[in-house]
């Protein structure tokens, strides 16, 4: 073991420690600040107060906004999973001329639909359809934005399930819907879970669309409400922000842990087994 090697190791671990600190300190702040009476931007030892949580509970829009977020993300995820599964199954099993071109075009367009470029037309569309300020309208638009990518991912799962399962069921006399229910859905369940989690996380963190399409503050989801947590003096209200931020992130973390434990996020495409 030469001195050079030791020096190299020390340098390497120092670099790792700095990188780790860079990502850990914000998380530590999120874990400690809500329990501190007067939080600053520094990470300190909390005095374990529940006052901040009380303040959040008393805020007229904070907790309802989390419920709104739940409604929007679960509604969108259910729609996305159901529609992407059917579309991907059809696209995977039926040979259409120009199928792949269609998929790539969809994927390309999807980044435009919910992107900044389409803000004005989307707003106008929602107004014309009387879907402004409605959760349903927002769910439909968010679904439209997520569907192309979801179909794209889902098709990969569908492609990787052998056709002989379905053919076998067909020879036994199963109808197409029975095949989907008995065979295809159980086989691609990890894929459905992946798409569902991905959709929930996407909607949960989406700020622009609800900000644009919902004007009633009672209907706003948590991502938008976070933006309003200021003190009367126009300063960021760190007590509220940190506590609300913690409440806002916990459901998503729990969902990841649950789904990962249940389905393990196995991607079984790519390698022929």
């Amino acid at each position: 073991m030469t001195a050079r090697f030791v020096a190299g190791r020390i340098g390497f671990y120092t670099l790792i420690a700095v990188l780790l600190a860079f990502f850990t300190i914000p998380l530590l702040w999120l874990a400690t600040a809500p329990f501190t009476s007067d939080p600053t931007y520094e990470v300190g030892v909390p005095d374990f107060t529940w006052e901040n949580f009380q303040a959040v509970a008393e805020h007229p829009y904070a907790l309802p906004s989390l419920y709104n977020s739940l409604v929007l993300s679960v509604g969108t995820a259910l729609l996305v999973v159901a529609m992407a599964a059917l579309a991907a199954y059809a696209l995977s099993r039926v040979r259409l001329p120009g199928r792949d071109a269609l998929l790539y075009a969809l994927l390309l367009l999807s980044s435009i639909i919910t992107g900044t470029a389409a803000m004005v037309p989307l707003f106008q569309l929602a107004v014309e359809l009387n879907l402004i300020d409605s959760h349903l309208g927002l769910i439909l638009i968010l679904t439209g934005g997520l569907l192309p990518a979801a179909i794209f991912m889902m098709k990969d799962f569908m492609d990787s399930t052998p056709k002989s399962y379905e053919e076998s069921a067909r020879v036994f006399g199963a109808s197409p819907l029975q095949i989907v229910r008995h065979v295809v859905v159980p086989l691609v369940r990890p894929g459905l879970a992946t798409i569902g989690v991905w959709a929930v996380a996407n909607v949960w963190g989406n700020f622009l669309m609800p900000y644009l399409l919902l004007s009633d503050v009672e209907k706003q989801p948590a991502a938008v409400i976070t933006y309003t947590l200021y003190t009367e003096g126009g300063q960021a209200n760190l007590r509220m922000l940190s506590t609300f931020g913690l409440l806002y992130s916990v459901p998503v973390v729990l969902m990841y842990l649950f789904v990962s434990k249940k389905y393990g996020f196995r991607f079984h495409g790519g390698i022929k087994r």
């Binding site: 002989s164 053919e167 036994f172 109808s175 086989l187």
Partner: protein, 354 residues
């Protein structure tokens, strides 16, 4: 139980590939029938067309006096075992075996009882709660067989049923499958690319090449009297000697040697005619001494087949192979003489048996 009849069956894939070309085939009730051929010959397409998974471009499929050409797979009353068995990975063995009955809306308790009955018959009783992923290849195959047995279909279709098993297990499964088919008496069509498998298991077999049936017959007929040089070259674990030759009066001139006219071709050849002379290595008697009507040359290769040896002779730059029993195998470079059995040798004219 039902006979299967194919009339002028044609399948053309989009893009113009003709997988089946006007096939006629009759498989009587209860027969164990093999479709044999090299890959790409259309044997799997034929099986899938019988099952209804491929739609015939022309012709008819008749199962038990019922024309099912336009009928969906589920309405044909056939059951199929796929090459990869296609056992549903999310269902246990009982559910897998009972699945066809679930589709037929049999009550849950009745179908479980049937699954256990069939599973027990195939020696699966202690595995009924396992998932397919927890079974060995041989066990998976038996579950797939149990599942088709539970359907009580008119005919069984097996797509390469043994190809996913390792070599030793394959021999056991071969015997097992033949015994099972005999006991059940259900008309069974199976596809294989392994000629030994077809010879061993089938009551009758069809040898296919590029969408055509080249010969139909019992394994003994196909082995002893291949109808053409394609079948002759395809059947047999050691390939048949197919040697170019010509008729010279009462004898044949093959690879520079004089051999007798095979008894099957006697009186059917004309002088000077070009022919192909066919004889299996197993139907040659080998000696180290010159003999009349022998193909003589230098020993080029000796391959050990276990109880016998395959000797390759270089006869005037033509390769001739003969099977020699153990104990009398020659050494490399020796002179050797192989005398074809006249009652087993064959003559082909323009690729067809004379």
């Amino acid at each position: 139980m039902a006979a299967i009849e194919l009339r002028g069956l044609t399948k053309v894939y989009p893009g113009g590939v003709k997988a089946l070309d006007a096939l006629d085939l009759d498989i009587p009730d209860g027969e164990f029938f093999a479709l044999l051929g090299p890959s790409g010959c259309g044997k799997t397409t034929l099986l899938r067309t019988i099952a209804g998974l491929e739609i015939a471009t022309g012709g008819a499929v008749v199962i038990g006096d019922r024309d099912v050409t336009g009928v969906q797979p589920g309405g044909r009353d056939v059951a199929m075992v796929f090459q990869d068995y296609a056992l549903f990975p999310h269902m246990d063995v009982t559910e897998n075996i009972a699945y066809p009955l679930r589709i037929k809306k049999v009550a849950k308790s009745a179908r479980r009882a049937k699954a256990v009955e069939v599973g027990t018959r195939l020696g699966l009783e202690h595995l009924m709660d396992r998932r397919p992923g927890q079974l060995s290849g041989g066990q998976q195959q038996r579950v797939a067989l149990a599942r088709v047995m539970a359907t009580q279909a008119q005919a069984f279709l097996f797509d390469e049923p043994l190809s996913n098993l390792d070599a030793r297990l394959r021999l056991e499964a071969r015997t097992f499958l033949k015994k099972l088919q005999r006991e059940l008496g259900v008309t069974t069509v199976f596809v294989t690319h392994d000629q030994a498998e077809a010879l061993a298991m089938a009551d009758r077999m069809a040898v296919m090449e590029s969408g055509h049936i080249r010969q139909i017959g019992t394994p003994a007929e196909v082995f002893q009297r291949p109808a053409n040089t394609f079948v002759a070259g395809f059947i047999g674990s050691t390939p048949m000697n197919l040697l170019d030759g010509a008729v010279r009066g009462d004898t044949l001139d093959v690879a520079g040697c004089k051999v007798g006219v095979p008894s099957s071709a006697e009186g059917r050849l004309s002088d000077g005619e070009k022919i192909v002379y066919g004889v299996r290595p197993e139907y040659m008697s080998y000696s180290a001494e010159p003999a009349e009507g022998a193909l003589g040359g230098k020993v080029a290769i000796v391959e050990n087949l276990g109880a016998s040896h395959l000797v390759t002779l270089d006869v005037n730059d033509v390769i001739v192979q003969a099977v020699v029993p153990e104990g009398s195998e020659p050494s490399l470079g020796d002179d050797g003489y192989a005398v074809p059995r006249r009652d087993r040798a064959l003559v082909y004219r323009d690729g067809e048996l004379v």
